[in-house]
Symmetry: C2
Subunit: 510 residues, 2 copies
Amino acid sequence: MDGANRNFTPHGKHLIAGEWIAGEQTFRSSPAYGEAHDFAIGTPELVNRAAEAAEQAFLSYGYTTREDRAAFLDAIAEEMEVRVDAITEIAMSETGLPEPRIRNVELPRTANQLRLFASHIRAGDYLDRRHDAALPDRKPMPRPDLKMVQRPIGPVAVFGASNFPLAFSTAGGDTAAALAAGCPVVVKGHGAHPGTGEIVAEAIAAAIDRCGMPGGVFSLVQGGKRDVGQALVQHPLIKAVGFTGSLYGGRALFDLAVSRPEPIPFFGELGSVNPMFLLPEAMSARGAELGKSWAASLVMGAGQFCTNPGIAVIENGAAGDAFVAAARDTLVETGPQTMLTDGIAAAYRDGKSRFNGRNAVTAVLETESEGRMIRPNLYETDASSYLQDADLGEEVFGPLGLVVRVSGADEMETLARGLRGQLTVTLHMDDGDTDAARRLVPILERKAGRLLVNGFPTGVEVADSMVHGGPFPASTNFGHTSVGTLSIRRFLRPVCYQNMPDALLPSDLA
Amino acid sequence: MDGANRNFTPHGKHLIAGEWIAGEQTFRSSPAYGEAHDFAIGTPELVNRAAEAAEQAFLSYGYTTREDRAAFLDAIAEEMEVRVDAITEIAMSETGLPEPRIRNVELPRTANQLRLFASHIRAGDYLDRRHDAALPDRKPMPRPDLKMVQRPIGPVAVFGASNFPLAFSTAGGDTAAALAAGCPVVVKGHGAHPGTGEIVAEAIAAAIDRCGMPGGVFSLVQGGKRDVGQALVQHPLIKAVGFTGSLYGGRALFDLAVSRPEPIPFFGELGSVNPMFLLPEAMSARGAELGKSWAASLVMGAGQFCTNPGIAVIENGAAGDAFVAAARDTLVETGPQTMLTDGIAAAYRDGKSRFNGRNAVTAVLETESEGRMIRPNLYETDASSYLQDADLGEEVFGPLGLVVRVSGADEMETLARGLRGQLTVTLHMDDGDTDAARRLVPILERKAGRLLVNGFPTGVEVADSMVHGGPFPASTNFGHTSVGTLSIRRFLRPVCYQNMPDALLPSDLA
């Protein structure tokens, strides 16, 4: 592994089944700072090569032992850690995220995620093995011997997110879950961090070599044009898609996936405004403190988290005033922040402008910004305006907060009922709020994949119990999660074996 | 329960949330024999009433204890058994199925299925409860307390099948699984057995009364026109659809479900040709016997099973000749059979006519038929013709067999690779065929939800290990099954509770 942690200069190639392939056309990266580089533009032909190699690889990879796949996942984690300096440098440059976020948080999180899946498949509970033994003497009909196990589905396409260049990208959660299940992966490289994608692909390629896995088990087709993603979702050999990104882009790809001659599952995580409901007792006890904490959560990572708590629902009154004032004060003190891409910064300004022209919306804090540097914004509205105006409930990616004032518990409940699907919903409450919370929880648990009490939703724990998903538009499949060990279920299908001799059963059943 | 088992005359009404509602317009049933009756025609307005009642019912039913739901499922089973004579009489009349099939097989199967789900939810493993305890001292970030459980998704729409008027219809597998999960159900009544639907709905209504369940937990909207099904799939309060039926109708409803502003999962079981691969050693040992058994399986229930084994793949040679001759002889001896509906009989004749005009297809046994009475047909073709002509792989619902002759093991493998998605694939083999089977199994397990050795796929066991599903077009969701306890998973979604006080947790977690 000598030289793996060298000062990294991307060569800009695709990785297709173990081969680095230059592109006929290239695009130039636009880093937040530092040098730009040229990267090959993906094509449908390359997608086809990658998908065919993935299918070929599945014939062996789909039959590897769980121990062999676990060792492979562990090796990917190690190969990423060996490259920590180079990964940190290029990811910081491409995304503008600060060094500790990449080096101390996201890279360890990504490596731990790979290792968690390794230990998850070693344990084997996810296989949900079942056996109904034969009952040859049963009347009126004998029962045959039936065994069931969850099997990998085949090649999987992964679309990474801009906001987590490691944890939700090339070797992120979707890739880790698919590889753990036994599915080869074709990643569409994210145009906002192509160099980060390249070096992570290099780490995976090194792990493939070390573990003797087939090259087609992983390919990275760099992006550049829309037709790459479309070709990937429509390729007949691709059996499922993992996607993290915008509602608009995600829905378009979802529509393609379900319109195929053979429709396939599209596991899209499309974002959320993550409402917080602040109950009266908690607010009178610590309204200002909550306002301050909310603002701090809102600007973390320049607000570029799927779980950023964009909406705060509070009752009219003095405690609410203190909450808003404290939030405002904290946001004013926040310096300018760099957004991930020029496009995201522009979308943030567009999103903010939706709030400006509206009678029912009051600006609490309005800021100007330029280029990729932005500042937080804070608005306020009332419940009925919020419910009447669907635009106000749409995610603005970035540090923008909207306070929704309600007249009391009934209107809070009405607002809760009117919410669209969310990744998370949070309650801030004291013991005296328990009855009010009891009314809200049955409503809110139908709106979100995760319910929190007295916390902030950013910081999605990678764990057995995590659910990162929820009703549309938070995700396209409310029955699944894209974070945590349960996410492996997306890439499995049950198969039943009836009266099958042991010699023909998959190794997990024999 | 006095009089429940009276001589039953349908009143022809819908059941909406506990009320029997007459229709402004009616359609006349077309039974195989016996008296026809008038039934209310469903409307989008009635679908809306049923869906709103289901949503209202979910607010309490979604929070019942598992024991209460289990008792309710047991009560439905009992109320059906109490009505056994009346159910048998009307179901026989409407479907033309013989008495033992209804009385001794399908009704007990349906009742046992309800009881199996009752015991499944009593055990509670399906909840997949998970807990990651808080780690307050973890560095760099503490871990919150995370608990996860599977929760019911809300109101579910069910479209029953023509061929199982009880087990895959009003109180069939989809309804049982949804009610077990905690989801209210709106059934679109099947136009081929509306009276059977009515009496089963009566049994469910009696169980609702006995158990004090909310009326909206179950509604039956009789069919009649296409707009009922469309309105049901598109209703914003419906959160998933269970469907058993044809590829054409299923795909159209699937397309509606995924095109909604909020797309929902559509669990369609659309049928299959269920190929059998007969390996050489088994064929030389007992080719004629296998041909005879195949023919017997092919005509069971007039071939009207989703798992009817329509295709037999054999090698050229004497054993194959004996197989075909024996199959033909058995089919010739089969008397005329009544099909479920005039439409199904007409579709059978249409399907058969696809085989007649083709050079590459030889008729081994061709029969004429009229009205609802039909006879079996048997054809033969070669592997390359089969693979070139997608029509030959399309399901013909009824007792029609197609023998595909291959030149040897390689061509058998090629044929296996070319198959579309299936509910089942069967191998007939002896010990000496094990190596050949080892080559085929990895290919075949990607094509089907269930693999069988030395059996016939009809007779789908309702069990923990059963998978009745498979790659499209066998089903629209290869990750799920529509039969067996695992089918409950279709109507559940994971929810994570972070730092939630016990007082607010769902009872299954507290």
